[in-house]
């Protein structure tokens, strides 16, 4: 069998990324230009700023990925690009660069769902064993996905309001922590002496959905009330209580989903899966159940293009192709692809 080389491109939020992956498993290059430094001063990602920065970076990042891989365009089999979901203005920079590159070099183009990419990041590190449950947890997503086999997705739970990472950022802001807040809360939670109790949003019996806005409001109210009374806020205990509530709910639902579906593996993906407290709790709970738990290394957890190339390779093998009318789809749903 011939090797498959795919160029992946990802611009769905605030990272401009390109990567070349061999056979969906071996990373030949993985280039990410982050906007965090530019976006920091705004305390979050400003879509128009993100779009402008993507245009500045896009060809540089693709060139770097091709050079590091040591390949020419004619050595590639296809171009895979994040089609959605994400910020529309950001998505269409990647989509149009990918289409122009593919057109100029006579290559097929494949539109990839961002979340499928996060899940397939595991192909690049340790592999995927089906059936599996994937927990995608980031600033934009909190989802539980069941995969019976390669290319088959079933969404079994999602957030009804804020994404977990969004709640982390908002709580961090109230506590006066820098953006992005996740790592700071994680660190403080570990250092904390005490814990402030916050509610757990388990929703109705049996549900795999999430809700974080109530928890977020409870934390904000707690901090405001304390400040109004002139009391000092113990930032670390608040961070610990908030994190504990998030982890409790996420671990309980993930483990229950894994047991109910009888899976061999649970995969965590997305920026918040870098959270040490969450990793430890998930790993411990799943070990008890005898279920394999995998989290890719940090550079594959956060947004990158290698994961898009990896998912794109599975789609390529299944015969999936897009065309020059491919567009950015901010609200794209996770769809399955069927193997030939």
């Amino acid at each position: 069998m011939n090797d498959i080389h795919i160029l992946g491109i990802e611009t769905s939020c605030d990272e401009t990324a390109a990567s070349v992956v061999k056979n969906g498993r071996e990373i030949l290059s993985n280039v990410v230009a982050s906007q965090i430094e530019s976006q920091k001063r705004f305390g979050g990602v400003v879509p128009e700023v993100a779009s402008r920065l993507h245009v500045e970076q896009i060809t540089l990042v693709i060139e770097e990925a091709m050079e590091q891989a040591g390949l020419r365009p004619e050595d590639l089999d296809a171009v895979a690009v994040t089609e959605g979901p994400g910020l529309v203005g950001a998505l269409l920079i990647g989509v149009n660069a990918a289409k122009a590159f593919a057109f100029a070099n006579g290559l097929p183009i494949i539109g990839v769902h961002h979340i499928a990419g996060h899940v397939y990041a595991n192909r690049l590190d340790g592999g995927m064993e089906f059936p599996l449950v994937a927990l995608i947890i980031s600033g934009g997503h909190t989802e539980l996905v069941y995969m019976e086999r390669d290319g088959r997705f079933e969404l079994i739970g999602e957030t009804r309001d804020d994404a977990a990472g969004e709640a982390y950022d908002k709580v961090a802001r109230v506590l006066g922590l820098p953006y992005p807040g996740g790592p700071h809360i994680d660190r403080l939670a570990h250092e904390a002496q005490g814990t402030v109790e916050f509610p757990r949003a388990r929703l109705e019996e049996g549900s795999f959905d999430f809700s974080f806005s109530g928890l977020k409001s409870a934390v904000i109210n707690h901090v405001h009330n304390a400040r109004q009374k002139g009391q000092e806020v113990d930032t670390a205990s608040v961070a610990a209580g908030f994190q504990e509530s998030v982890i409790d709910v996420v671990v309980e639902k993930t483990v229950r989903a894994a047991k109910e579906k009888g899976v061999r593996q649970v995969i965590a993906a997305g920026g918040v899966s870098a959270n040490k407290g969450l990793r430890a709790a998930l790993s411990e709970a799943l070990e008890k159940e005898g279920i394999r738990f995998s989290v890719p290394p940090l550079n594959l957890c956060t947004d990158n293009a290698a994961m898009i190339a990896a998912a794109g390779t599975s789609m390529y093998e299944a015969g999936i192709r897009s065309d020059m009318a491919l567009n950015g789809r901010p609200g794209m749903e996770l769809l399955s692809w069927t193997m030939k």
Partner: protein, 235 residues
């Protein structure tokens, strides 16, 4: 020498291939197209009709703005990616200059206009010279329509207004300038990629990687940040 030209700066779409000063194919649409989905299929069709391959072109010209932020970015992204991967020179041309190039009348001030809402426009001022080239009289900018009209009234020269912004603000233009102002024919209100190429041939190539649109406005977030931090410093 074969040029590819691309203008997606506003609602209209125009793509063209020109060989040695001769038009091969041009595709124009005034409709409010979705450029993200529509620009590359138009480019693909352009090459198919001309019967040439992407690698056969020698240079790329693109409308660099001002205009719709998203529209300008799509054109610039496509153009710089093609220029980089095909290793061809890239030239950016003002989208207002492209509109002005639709007007071939001598001795008048050409006022291309793109509506920017809330009484504002993107505008530049141009003049067609004896040798046929376009001279820029006022650099492109984001400004209040009333300021532009005051300036034109004061200058007292005959003016031709062109572009979608001129159509939208037709009444205000007539009221302000009366006999002094004229409207271009409606077919001149949409940019032509072939004329974009003509303008590009007189300009210097860009550095491809660092080439970005001429937005002519900073983002709202940056403006607010500057305001907040400027005030903080003053305190």
């Amino acid at each position: 020498m074969i040029w590819l030209g691309l203008d997606t700066a506003n609602a209209p779409l125009s793509v063209a291939l020109v060989r040695d000063g001769e038009l091969l194919v041009e595709l124009n649409s005034a409709m409010g197209l979705n450029h993200s989905a529509g620009a590359m299929p138009a480019v693909e069709q352009l090459f198919k009709r001309a019967g040439i391959k992407p690698a056969d072109i020698d240079a790329i010209a693109v409308s660099e703005g001002p205009g719709s932020y998203t529209g300008v970015r799509i054109g610039v992204t496509i153009a710089k990616t093609l220029a980089w991967t095909l290793d061809k020179p890239l030239v950016g041309v003002s989208s207002l200059r492209v509109l002005a190039s639709n007007v071939f009348t001598y001795g008048v001030t050409i006022s291309p206009m793109i509506d920017a809402r809330r009484g504002n426009v993107y505008a530049g001022l141009y003049r067609r010279q004896e040798d046929g080239t376009l001279k820029c009289l006022m650099e492109d900018r984001h400004m209040a329509l009333s300021d532009l009209l005051d300036r034109l009234k004061k200058e007292g020269n005959p003016v031709v207004f062109v572009g979608e912004g001129a159509r939208k603000n037709e009444e205000a233009l007539r009221e302000a300038l009366g006999e002094l102002g004229r409207r271009a024919h409606f077919t001149q209100d949409i940019p032509r990629a072939s004329l974009l190429i003509t303008e590009a041939q007189q300009a210097e190539p860009e550095t491809v990687h660092s080439f970005v649109p001429e937005y002519r406005r900073i983002t709202e977030a940056e403006a607010n940040w500057q305001k907040a931090n400027g005030e903080a410093r003053e305190k």
